[in-house]
Amino acid sequence: MLEVKVKILNNAGLHTRPAATIVKLAAKYIADFFIYKDGFMVNGKSIIGVMTLAAEKGSELTLNFNGEDEQEASREIVDFFNRGFDEV
């Protein structure tokens, strides 16, 4: 299991477009992917779940990867967060 803390960097926050990208990226991997925000947990492979977070700029999320390809999954998804969803 792998846990990584990330921050939302872009102004618009985690809105629909990045949410869709995240679930698409996550779906490529076998590893389970969960996102935690203020103790609230959602499945990172579900678009409704990720949108539920309504994470605004500056909010902190914990990404949890669990499965055989967790390394690769975390690398790609964490990178997408750190790029500010390509909106910064």
Binding site: D32, Y36, M41, V42, S46, I47, I48, T52
Partner: protein, 336 residues
């Protein structure tokens, strides 16, 4: 197994401001003092009648609770002379109390309001009888301080039985939920379900305010179940009664065959009946889910099919009959 206790959310406190804004519209809570001390914290879900404290006995005074002034507190204060009344009120205002509620439209005296404003303790009024106030306030605080957890899955009311479908992403939870809705059952929430422990032994689930009855169907996108199927296809809350885990058939897993053993999972300290449902070609999960719900209802009303067949078998073994008999032993010339 399915929930890590680490992710149970439980509020440690609420502000008096939150308490007031929530109850203003729900139970007509009125502000009787100036708008002071709204940042005070309520840390206890219990209420307190401070009769003894007003009389001067402050040992074990639960000052951190919401204080309720009913008729007896008011009558007692009114029976005192002004000086004694102020002294009595000062006794409790010297403690860090979060706020005071006056029930049955009782009004605080002038001295009480002055003291409250000075000490920055807000006073509120309610019109209900004290016992009713206690009931409403306790229920509200109980809910605020109750543990809750969010789970990933689809929550559906099937014949009045609250069924939560869990399982890996993309296994078809939403599709089962949609199929059940199509057959007249009601969706509570899809994807993110928040479960709240209510009292002892009850868990209530509901969706989130953002998503409500929207769901994602792979390959189609986001749909609104309420908009599509109407108000009869949804509900906002439901007691959790069964958890069903969908999984790809596993040759090594041990699936129940008789249903005599009752499997449960622990969710926030409460045992919830649990069924592991393997997915196989030709297996209609919707119908199976309905059957699980109906069987649950039958068991709930005292009829357990597995037990009935078991006792029939035991009886038959005792009788030592050799042959397998038909259910009808003579057809009475009925050749239809």
């Amino acid at each position: 197994m399915l929930v890590n206790d680490k992710y149970i959310i439980q509020k440690k406190n609420i502000t008096v401001e939150f308490f007031y804004t929530e109850l203003k519209s729900k139970f007509g809570l009125k502000l009787l003092s100036r708008k002071v001390g709204f940042d005070r914290l309520i840390t206890d879900k219990n209420l307190h009648r401070p009769g003894l404290a007003l009389a001067g006995f402050v040992e074990l005074f639960s000052f951190n609770r919401v204080q309720v002034f009913g008729n007896s507190e008011i009558k007692y204060l009114n029976s005192l002379k002004l000086k004694e009344r102020i002294k009595s009120l000062k006794t409790i205002f010297n403690f860090e109390i979060p706020c005071i509620i006056f029930t049955e439209n009782n009004k605080p005296s002038k001295e009480c309001i002055e003291l409250a404003n000075r000490k920055k303790v807000p006073l509120f009024g309610m019109s209900y009888q004290t016992t009713k106030c206690n009931y409403f306030l306790s229920d509200f605080l109980d809910d605020q301080f109750s543990p809750r957890i969010s789970l990933h899955g689809s929550f559906v009311d099937v014949y009045g039985v609250g069924m939560m479908f869990i399982g890996k992403s993309g296994i078809g939870k939403s599709e089962v939920a949609l199929d059940l809705v199509e057959r007249g059952h009601r969706l509570v929430a899809d994807d993110v379900v928040i479960f709240t422990k209510k009292g002892e032994g009850i868990i209530i689930g509901s969706g989130t305010d953002l998503v409500k009855h929207f769901m994602e169907v792979r390959g189609i996108g986001i749909i609104d179940v309420r908009g599509m199927f109407g108000v009869r296809s949804i509900r906002f809350q439901k007691r959790l009664e069964i958890i069903i885990e969908l999984e790809i058939w596993d040759d090594n897993a041990n699936y129940t065959r008789t249903g005599l053993e009752r499997q449960t999972v622990d969710l926030m300290g409460i045992d919830i009946p649990y069924v592991k449902l393997p997915i196989l070609p030709g297996k209609n999960l919707t119908v199976v889910s309905e059957i699980i719900a109906l069987n649950y209802l039958l068991k709930h009303y005292g009829y357990d099919a597995a037990k009935v067949l078991k006792s029939r078998l035991t009886k038959k073994i005792k009788k030592k009959t050799e042959e397998v008999k038909r259910v009808v032993d003579y057809f009475e010339h009925d050749f239809e």
